[in-house]
């Protein structure tokens, strides 16, 4: 009993704030018809889920690494574009797979390069210089080899071959696949060998750079764990097989149907994020741990570079990503009235409490959000790596002093965080539409959610996202139906600019009351 009173007293501000928020929510619900508020709440959940995917990754990264990853929004957008590519143009995806595998093949042998690089001793200036020369060489080789590899792609400049057109066709049910490009005069062996060579050179030079950066040059012994050799073989073989069976694979994957393709697309987006994350952390963020503000600036720069890159590849105009068949049915039995009906007829909407609810946007997305929330929660609470993360958020140095390689956990967390952002992007593609601007607004949402919930708190990210979603959707809905305010004859209709303004206002107020956010730690 006393502990309960103590709890109340300790968290007085939080409890008061929470009850005020709850009261506001109830008031907002009170002012609406049932069907309106049910839809609004469900839509909020959808927005909250997508926001949460970006925000939670952000919060994990910031908590453990102290890196404010402002590229999270851009990575979210990249996730959407990658998913679109796999989903609408699986042939391009298959084409890219081979050079990609060959490119990373070199990096699976990093311990070997590391060992070789540590053996390269001699004049100081030569030791300092050769990695750069190697990088330059690798760049040249890759430039030529990668360009020579035939990839069937779209052309944003020509309307009939632009991404938007392919989307339109896919929406009508016909997946348009242009004729595959083939090798011109270059020999396939030469090109593939070139990519492999470039990849080796690249990894080798990077290992050399890394060695030079470490002040202490320790003589290393060659230890190539078998896992690395297996990984190399696997990557190499996959690349080779995909290259040899390119055409049958393409027909097979196109024949899978949109539902399977969609789930493959989501998976690929997630993996892309994980890979990108570990790449960014290990090459760009890691050298800057002693200069935190520069990490922030580099993520900003990356975000700008990413947007431009996407614009260059996919073009500026926005386009849609049609929903997969399983969420897009419109048979006689639709809209469904029960969940069983949804599964049977793949209806795109369901009737629930007098309101029409879109299955993909308002049920599937929040569901995935919930699964990720639980999954990460279990990871944090039940596994050893989760324990290390929680400990590291509080005291990195001490974790290291226990003999744990925190840097490896850093890479893991960064990869995980970025992976969640790209997953979010892939999920949001069909519901939000795909544009280069989609990342920016979402990053803003996520940042506000984090500031509200507490920057480094994982549950805080969830609560904050939920609040942001609710706030936005209720304001939007009231923008349509209007609020009856006292002393006003006309109902007050919030205009669209008020939507972000309201969330910012909520954030400022909450920060004034609780400077560390709702669930942030007191230090």
């Amino acid at each position: 009993m006393t502990s309960f009173v103590l709890y109340l007293r300790k968290n007085r501000t939080l409890l008061i704030t929470a009850s005020v928020l709850l009261l506001l929510l109830l008031l907002a619900i009170q002012g609406m018809e049932t069907q309106d508020w049910v839809v609004t709440v469900l839509r909020s959940l959808s927005v909250a889920a997508v926001t949460f995917l970006v925000a939670s990754g952000f919060s994990l990264i910031f908590g453990l690494l102290d890196v404010l990853n402002l590229a999270q929004g851009t990575l979210f957008m990249i996730g959407a574009y990658v998913a679109w590519t796999v989903y609408i143009r699986p042939d391009t995806f298959i084409d890219i797979l081979t050079p990609f595998c060959f490119l990373i093949a070199g990096f699976t042998l990093l311990p070997l390069w590391d060992f070789l690089a540590s053996r390269l001793t001699g004049k100081k200036i030569l030791v300092r210089l050769w990695p750069w020369v190697g990088l330059l060489l690798a760049g040249f080789v890759l430039l030529f080899a990668l360009r020579a590899y035939p990839i069937t792609i779209w052309n944003p400049g020509v309307y009939s071959q632009s991404p938007g057109t392919y989307s339109l066709f896919a929406d009508t049910g016909t997946r348009l696949i242009p004729p595959a490009e083939t090798f011109g005069d270059g020999s396939a062996v030469l090109v593939l060998g070139g990519i492999l060579l470039g990849s080796f050179l690249l990894a080798f030079s990077l290992a050399g750079l890394q060695n030079n950066r470490n002040a202490a040059r320790v003589r290393k012994s060659l230890r190539l764990p078998w896992a690395y050799s297996v990984a190399f073989l696997a990557v190499f073989l996959v690349g080779l097989l995909v290259h040899l069976f390119n055409t049958p694979l393409t027909t097979a994957i196109v024949g899978l149907g949109s539902t399977w393709l969609f789930f493959i697309a989501i998976l690929v987006a997630l993996l892309t994020g994980v890979l990108l994350g570990s790449l960014i952390e290990s090459t760009l963020i890691r050298p800057l741990y002693s200069r935190p503000i520069y990490q922030l600036m580099i993520t900003l720069g990356l975000s700008a570079v990413g947007i431009e890159l996407v614009r260059a590849i996919w073009g500026r105009p926005e386009f849609t990503m049609p929903k997969p068949e399983i969420f897009n049915g419109a048979g006689v039995n639709c809209p469904a009235t029960t969940l069983a009906g949804v599964f049977q007829d793949h209806c795109s909407t369901i009737l629930f409490m007098d309101s029409r609810i879109r299955v993909y946007n308002e049920i599937f997305i929040p569901l995935v959000g919930l699964i990720v929330l639980i999954g990460i929660w279990l990871l944090l609470q039940r596994t050893r790596i989760g324990m290390i993360i929680r400990a590291g958020v509080q005291d990195r140095e001490m974790v290291e002093a226990l003999g744990i390689n925190v840097r490896r956990v850093f890479t893991f967390v960064f990869a995980l965080g970025v992976g969640m952002a790209t997953l979010g992007g892939a999920l949001a593609g069909p519901s939000m539409g795909i544009s280069t601007a989609m990342g920016e607004s979402l990053l803003l949402n996520a940042l506000i959610a984090l500031a509200i919930g507490g920057l480094t708190s994982f549950p805080g990210a969830a609560v904050g996202s939920l609040l942001v979603g609710l706030m936005q959707q209720f304001i939007i809905k009231y923008g349509q139906i209007g609020i009856q305010l006292p002393f006003l004859a006309e109902p007050f209709k919030p205009t669209p600019p008020l939507v972000p303004a309201s969330t910012v206002l909520l954030m400022v107020i909450i920060l004034l009351v609780m400077p560390r956010g709702l669930l942030g730690r007191k230090e």
Partner: protein, 234 residues
Amino acid sequence: METLLEVRDVHTFIGQYHILQGVSLKVRKGGITALLGRNGAGKTTTLKTILGLTPPRQGEVIFADQPIHEMRSFDIAALGIGFVPEQRAIFRDLSVEENLKIAERKRGDLRRKQEMIFSLFPDLQRLIHLPGTHLSGGQQQMLAIARALVADNRLLLIDEPSEGLAPVIIEQLILAIRQLSAETTILLVEQNFIVAGQLAEDYVIIEEGQSVKTGKMAALVKDEQIIHRYLGAA
């Protein structure tokens, strides 16, 4: 007399500040060596330098005949050096059990050692599921020491264990540390000279980032002049 740890003329910088300006010390295998000195003399930095948390810019650190000053700190720790930081820095968000479990270097370390740990600190067994925030200062200190015992450590670096604790608790701690020293070597940083004097056999005095005096504790306890000169009031 076998030397477990040797620090040779180490210089450490934190940012642009030259904190350690030549520290040398030897830690005899078995027994307790006390690192003494005034506030800000560089005792904690010496411990962190040994562990590689603030790597030295110059000088050598040799642990069990192996130079470790160029190694990464987690590799150094994995050689068998346990660290008990000042201000009882346990992981407050983790439960007592998790605090111990995170220190495992091999699976099952905790299961093997828990009997020894709980006989040393019976309190911890009772509190095993409590989060770190709920522990009292003395309990936190015990947990911090216990955490360093989970893995097989040949050397313990203990930083200011008695700081801010009640005399009764300090008594308990002294007993526990003495018991520990039967099995492992300990390098102890201690402001409280009474505690250090009771525990240690050897001492090293650090002043303004330099090691200025080493010797046997038994001799130091009698030499009030040195105590007054380097450590202020005894």
